[in-house]
Amino acid sequence: MNAPHTQTEGYIGRRMARTEDTRLLTGKGVYVDDVGLPGMLQVAFHRSPIARGRIKTIDLSAAREIPGVYAVLIASDLARYKVDMLSFFLALPTVPVPVLAVDRVTYVGDPIAMVVAQDRYIAEDAAGLIVIEYEEQDPVVTLADAKHGSLVHPRTDSNVAAATGSDEVDEDLEALLAHAPHLVSIDLTHQRIAQSPMEPRGVVAAPQGSGELTVYLSCQGPQLAARWFAQAFGMPATSIRVISKDVGGSFGLKGQPWREEVAVVLAAQLLKRPLKWIEDRLENLTSANQAREQEIRLRVAFDNDGTLLASHADYGINNGAYPQGADSNIAVMMFLWAAHKLPVFGFHARGWYTNTVGLAAYRGPWALESLAREVLLDRAARKLGIDAIELRRRSLITRADQPCTTPMGLQLEDISPAECLDELLRHVDVAAFRVEQAEARKQGRYLGLGVATYIEPTAGSTGIAVLISESAHIRIEPTGKVSAVVSTHSQGHGTQTTMAQVIAERLGVLFEDVTVHEDDSSRGGYGSGAYGSRQAVAGGGACIRAADLLVDKIKLMAAHLLNAKPEEIFLRDSVIHVFGEKEQTVSLRDLADIAYGEPDRLPEGMDAGLEVQYRYRPPPITMTSAAHACIVEVDGDTGFVKIRRWVTSEDCGVMINPAVVEGQIAGGLAQAIGCVLMEEISYDPRGNPTAVTYKDYLLPSISDVPDFEYHHGASAPSKAEGGFRGVGEGGCIIGPPTLVNAIADALSPFGDIPLQLPLTPHKLLEVIEGRSMARPAPTQPKASTPADAPSEKPMSVAEAVVHEPSSALTPVPVVETAGIDGLWKFILSTPMGPQAFTGKLATSGNVVSGSFYFNMDEASFTGTINGNNLKWDLKVTKPMSITLKYDVQIQGDKLVGKVKMGIFGTAKLSGERV
């Protein structure tokens, strides 16, 4: 590709006012609730008031009698549609997810029936008249309940929803930990969080024509949503059009459609009417999927000089009843020590089913890694008597150390947390603060300084099939103006502005002449939209490549028409300049007139028109690094935390629009402040949510968030096109440890602070007072009803469940191994969700050989047979080079076993004959 000679105006890097703000500030945005269609009806759901139970009877008669009610539907009404409730990665769920509850309810808020009525008031009136009789059962609510309680889902063998990391104790690692000069260990819990976009979820579904469907959706990307619906419903992708113009925030919640949205789309098809459902805040806080609720025990061995020797993490996350993709969060382990010199790391991670609303993504889903590591490093510094900043410097990987590969197999090229830390300390005078802190303590005031570093994986292009590439389609319209259709999507990200900045600069046109469209799946090509801080890198790269191709065409065309050489053509401010012997200018409009209207005048063989599309695949991974510091004061009388200063030092690469970049950092930090100080979704022992309004679910207000200071001195361009790096999630990852460390520093005269978020005034005052102010422990629910319905596993079996997947398989008689020859369908439960593939097995004596077929790819292997046990190794290169070790038992006409996947731990495998 030619290097562009057209970089005019320097739009990239400018703090430009956002294009979208004009409509959003004047009330002209179009959010899903702003869509109205002729004949449209409104939906309200009737939801379970109990966390767990069997549905005995449903009486819809009173609801149906309300004037204005069009229909009342339950699961059986929608049963004609088969829907696979796919994960974001488009993987099948590990346990089937019903659209509406079938026979049993699994959390408070589980949707059972939907009322379709002429308005929402009437729909709610009718929903309140639905009468359901339950046989209530004791719920499994907490992580502790999940490990030792009865089964959340029948026909599972434990409450483990997802697992990575081996069950077997690594004795070498344990010996390293046990015999190191210093072992520091923390147990940390992170509360459950409601993502709380200010616009809750919502959908308008309109069946049209013969089987087509237009879905207006509050989502993170219409392209991915359309692909999700098509695949989940088994419909042709072309039949489903998803429109998502303005979205009032998402933060992970709206990454894929879920039960309510799907129910509305199905009901619209069934009733052949446009339907609208707008989630209200009560539903949003009780029935929309939630995030975090994690626990971690992190152990780290240090040498006397602070050198890291080894570490082990034991991790659990509450998946709720129906997670949006069962998850044990491999990313926590991938990034925990990715930026540090640590020779040995082991982990054990489990996701657990409970009778609570399901797990979804939230900004920086793996953020616990930074919180646990940075908090532990501060504790270690106090224990070892080494300054906390110095301790970090001893183990952080610097630019000079790279390229290198982490113990988890991640290849690092240009992370810079150490350099960001250096830059940070140019703006934070730690020594002066220590003097101020000491003075304040004499007056009974408790100031604290917290520092943390992190790296953030942003756009990547390996392993995750839905996240590989991004598309841009740029046209010079016949009017001479520029239209671009990009597979990015904004829920506040401002991509209509930033992508236009990139395009305008690379094309050499006026920013005002560029309109970016990203709101309609029928326009443009596939892209995931907002996910994993990817849009600047992947979308920006796509815009650059497409713009450069278009510039090439413009130059060739203009040179031909004006009798000049292409290198003499230059675009600036939407005008074509010709330099050389006879200098002249031509408007883009005039060129477009010829390109569209008189193609005979174009160079021979050149296509008519002025449009280009390009699908950009960014480098395998683009990393962002940062170091932050904050200073707090904790009120000794009340335990309240006041944040006095917050300084950020980030390596975001080349910034397209610094105001947008800083906006992302600030927004993430505000959410971090909420996580650390006040936000909390909790449940009582019966599984009832306790914070169901914004009076009780506390979001940070303007007085809780300080002014942030930004420093970009350590920035370096990334290897991606344009040199951009992502910044969408970072604040939410580095913010919590920075603030927790500051609070811990402030209260260090009193000892360690508890590591159970949120750090409420009550918990901090306990530290200051040195005594418990706890409420009496809640009484555990009595097992007054059978824990499992008769149709499920008998009680005795449920009670006997061990808290790990059973690895001891039931012995079965040795079978004739030749009986397994032929085609099989396998399901492998990986950290990305279940993967289905077909395979062919052939046996000969003690040798088994075979091939797996996966989306037109094939991998072959040879292994051994021992009785009814089969073993073979399979080398794969995606998402990274690892050897998969299969250990499979023949059980009748089924194959059951496990696959060791290197650092990804062990996954379950099952196979059935095709």
């Binding site: 703090r15 006012a17 956002r18 979208e20 703000d21 004009t22 959003l24 500030l25 004047t26 009330g27 002209k28 945005g29 179009v30 959010y31 609730d33 702003d34 008031y121 709380s196 976009p197 200010m198 616009e199 809750p200 303005d246 979205v247 009032g248 925030g249 933060f251 209200d280 805040r281 904004s490 829920q491 506040g492 990200h493 401002g494 105001a659 947008v660 800083e662 906006g663 600030a666 927004g667 993430g668 930090l669 505000a670 959410q671 309004t693 914004y694 009076k695 979001l699 207000s701 303007i702 007085s703 968030v705 002014d707 942030f708 604040g731």
Partner: protein
């Protein structure tokens, strides 16, 4: 269940309607009158997104009944910019300061700032920041909103 004829002024135009007693003002403004710039974020008076100006005062439109607005003059976010599209000073300042991201909470914030800076007794920055504590923004961390408020109060750096 009772219904009531009402007449009110919205953004300078007269509106006549017959409303059910229970119809909430925010739903009336959005659904019946078509001012979808009024955003409904919580329906229990905490988030502030639905804030409009009723007879000169910033109020939560989710905490009033439509019937209570009979005879009132209401301004929504659609009623601020000039006919030629020139933004109201509050809107322009919010844009200049990057005071919004997703834009959902924005109309409410704009209306509070407009109510407190529009009259003869212009509020100082302390009053504005205090009033802004009645708005939840999940995107911006309030950085640009605070800059805009200080600028509108004449206290900006």
């Amino acid at each position: 269940m009772s219904t009531h004829p009402i007449q009110l002024t919205i953004n300078g135009r007269r509106h006549d309607a017959t409303v059910e007693g229970r119809l909430v003002l925010s739903d009336f403004l959005r659904g019946d009158a078509g001012y979808t710039g009024v955003h409904v974020g919580c329906e229990h008076g905490v988030c502030g997104a639905c804030t409009v100006i009723v007879d000169g005062l910033a109020v939560r439109s989710c905490l009033m009944l439509a019937v209570q607005a009979d005879g009132a003059a209401i301004t929504t976010v659609e009623g601020l910019a000039a006919d030629d599209g020139t933004l109201h000073p509050v809107q322009q300042t919010m844009r200049d300061e990057h005071g919004l991201q997703c834009g959902f909470c924005t109309p409410g914030i704009v209306m509070t700032l407009a109510a407190l800076t529009g009259g003869p007794n212009k509020a100082n920055s302390e009053t504005l920041l205090n009033a802004l504590s009645g708005h939840i923004c999940r995107c911006t961390g309030y950085q640009g909103i605070r800059r805009a408020a200080l600028k509108l109060a004449g206290d900006a750096a």
